[in-house]
């Protein structure tokens, strides 16, 4: 009996940590991190990465755990309630709407990616994905599988198995949520996290013992060099610091609204400091030790230096480059299955955590029982998921939501939470709250970091991120010889322009057209009418569309943003009603907090 009690207690403590770590560990650990590192200086990326972990990641995690527990001890588990007791102002709960919107909207597209992983795992079991070494074949397969060629492709009957898999993933998530936090999330994470680690280690061992099956120089050692060799000049590039900070920020799930909800269930005798540090370190283990050793070294062994073509996109690394690897690898079919099944587990431990903050809000905001809150939430996310699944062409809807909600809004919420901890709760009270029941102490200087450095650092990153991504940019590629300019002025495209582009390693776009803009300016448009190059003042500029232009130039992207704002509006109304209800019940009061609280 005594043993049973001890095991039960320890299981609960580690269960909490595994659930938070499960929320943080996702596809980004295995696909985004290696690509990000390789693109931004290799080993040199790790210096800003670890600095960001120490200055931004772990302190913000502690802040979220502390604020979540603080709100929970005062009777609230949802972000609007927690924010209201932290900042005793009527406006605070409306800011918390972001902490509901972010996990809700991310879930709407994340469950699709989750279904891709499960679908790919099953395709490996049946052998359908063993198509030999041909990046184009896997690229086309992915496009077809996700319906990237046309809107509504997934509903046209061409890929019925995917819709079935999507429904399975959806039902699995909601079954876990419906079973409740103990019998659902905790029970699942206790099994899923060790299983995920086991599967990743099996794949890692296979990668490290692959040898050099293609070329003696393409082996695991040179693969590790591709990933880890530092390009020190990149340390001086702000883009490297931005990428490293973003990786830490997104990887640890800070600013998602999940940790603050999970921590709200802790008692004052529970340890938030060690639990927060442990869940963060588990996330780092999956990211640096497994993601950093598996993905790119494996791809390098089979694809060589051309793997660099895939590092710019997580999807390209995971769903195009790695299937090439598995196709060439002895036992690749089973390892392909293990890999994608592991990604599916990583995805589901994250997606299930995205539902809990909204469930908690529906329940405490409106007194709903679990079946009612799960039903309402299910209807909302089914509509959103259906929207993303239908508007699948070029994954525009998914990309739009991922950028604005899954990236940009997270910066805003993270910044708001950092200010809330450092300046509203205050570092003195924050330190006291964090150390209730703590078994390890947070060094004192971290409180000052949280008050001054973290908000400033996060603010700078957010501004740089916005400057880099929101506006469109035209970068000069080449000066055009006057002959090319003259030919353009005469009408049809001259071969001189094509030659100039070739000399600058640019292929004139297939089915591209040149449109005269008047006043000696021309636009080179791609197949789908998108602006690729500008010619002005006898100079060729490459056009990079910013996120604002991407939204405004595409009706699906506009619709996606409208959808997000409709959901935001709906949640704000819900938060308003819940706030009135809490006020009527006497659960909320405004103004300075009494010293006894």
């Amino acid at each position: 009996m005594a043993q049973e009690q001890t095991r039960e207690r320890w299981g609960s403590r580690i269960g909490v940590i595994l659930a938070v770590a499960g929320s943080a560990v996702g596809l980004g650990n295995f696909l985004r991190f290696p690509g990000n590192a390789a693109q931004n200086g290799g080993g040199a990326f790790m210096l800003p990465y670890f600095i960001s972990l120490l200055v931004l990641g772990i302190p913000l995690c502690w802040a979220e755990w502390t604020m979540g527990r603080y709100g929970g001890l005062r009777g609230f588990n949802s972000a609007p309630g927690i924010f209201s007791v932290l900042w005793r102002n009527r406006a605070s709960k409306y800011f918390a709407t972001l902490a509901l919107l972010i996990p809700l909207v991310i879930y709407m597209y994340y469950v699709l990616i989750e279904a891709w992983c499960l679908g790919y795992a099953l395709k490996y079991l049946t052998g359908d994905l063993m198509m030999g070494r041909d990046p184009d074949a896997y690229g086309n397969y992915l496009n077809n599988y996700v319906g990237a060629d046309a809107d509504g492709a997934l509903f046209s009957g061409s890929n019925p198995s995917f819709l079935l898999i999507l429904v399975v993933a959806f039902v699995l998530n909601f079954t876990l949520i419906y079973r409740g936090v103990t019998k659902g999330i905790e029970m699942f994470c206790r099994v899923a996290m060790p299983l995920m680690a086991l599967l990743a280690i099996i794949v890692l061992v296979r990668v490290l013992t692959l040898g050099a099956p293609i070329d003696p120089d393409q082996n695991v050692v040179t693969g590790l060099g591709f990933m880890w060799n530092p390009r020190s000049d990149r340390l001086w590039d702000p883009q490297t610091w931005l990428a490293a900070s973003g990786q830490i920020f997104f990887s640890l799930s800070v600013g998602f609204g999940v940790i603050i909800n999970y921590a709200s269930y802790l008692s004052e005798k529970d340890d938030v400091v060690l639990s927060g540090l442990t869940s963060s370190s588990m996330n780092e283990f999956f990211e640096v030790c497994l993601g950093g050793l598996i993905t790119l070294p494996a791809a390098f062994i089979f694809l060589g230096p051309q793997v660099a073509n895939f590092t710019g996109s997580s999807f390209a690394v995971g769903f195009v480059a790695l299937p090439n690897v598995f196709a060439s690898m002895p036992g690749g079919q089973i390892f392909g299955f293990l890999w994608f099944f592991m990604l599916f587990i990583a995805a589901i431990t994250s997606s299930v955590s995205m539902l809990q903050p909204v469930i908690a809000f529906f329940e405490e905001g409106f007194g709903l029982k679990r079946h009612a809150s799960v039903t309402i939430l299910g209807l909302i996310v089914a509509m959103g998921c259906g929207f993303v699944a239908y508007f699948s062409k070029g994954t525009v809807a998914l990309d739009t939501m991922d950028f604005w909600v899954g990236t940009f809004f997270i910066f805003i919420l993270g910044l708001f939470q950092a200010i809330m901890y450092g300046w509203v709760l205050g570092i003195e009270r924050g330190e006291t709250e964090a150390h209730r029941g703590a078994n390890v102490r947070i060094p004192r200087f971290v409180q000052y970091v949280l008050k001054y450095v973290t908000p400033l650092y996060l603010g700078i990153i957010a501004v740089l991120f916005a400057i880099n991504n929101l506006p469109s940019k035209d970068s000069e590629v080449a000066k055009l010889p006057s002959s090319a300019h003259a030919m353009l002025a005469e009408g049809p495209i001259g071969s001189t322009l094509v030659d100039v582009m070739k000399n600058n390693e640019i292929n004139f776009p297939a089915a591209g057209t040149i449109v005269d803009q008047g006043a000696g300016a021309w636009h080179v448009l791609g197949e789908n009418g998108s602006l690729l190059y500008k010619i002005k003042d006898e100079t060729l500029y490459q056009h990079s569309a910013g996120q604002i232009e991407k939204v405004l130039s595409n009706p699906v992207a506009v619709s996606s943003m409208l959808f997000v704002f409709v959901v935001l509006g709906f949640l704000m109304v819900m938060v308003h009603i819940a706030g009135r209800r809490w006020e009527a019940e006497g659960r909320l009061s405004y103004g300075p907090e009494s010293p006894t609280n």
Binding site: N229, L266, K269, L274, S281, V288, G292
Partner: protein
Amino acid sequence: MDPASYAPTPAGWTIMVVSITMVIALVSYCTVRVLTLPPVEMDDIKGPLEIDTRDTQDAD
């Protein structure tokens, strides 16, 4: 580019080994500390995932 040119440099090895060692040391320290903490009184256990939110009591 020649694949052989990607052979790990001493700096590459160092960064990889130091990064992985640091992370493994941190996760090991934390996990051992968590697993060796004294048991909490039964009444005190209210981990986030243990809380009975009472919302499934009459769920059908």
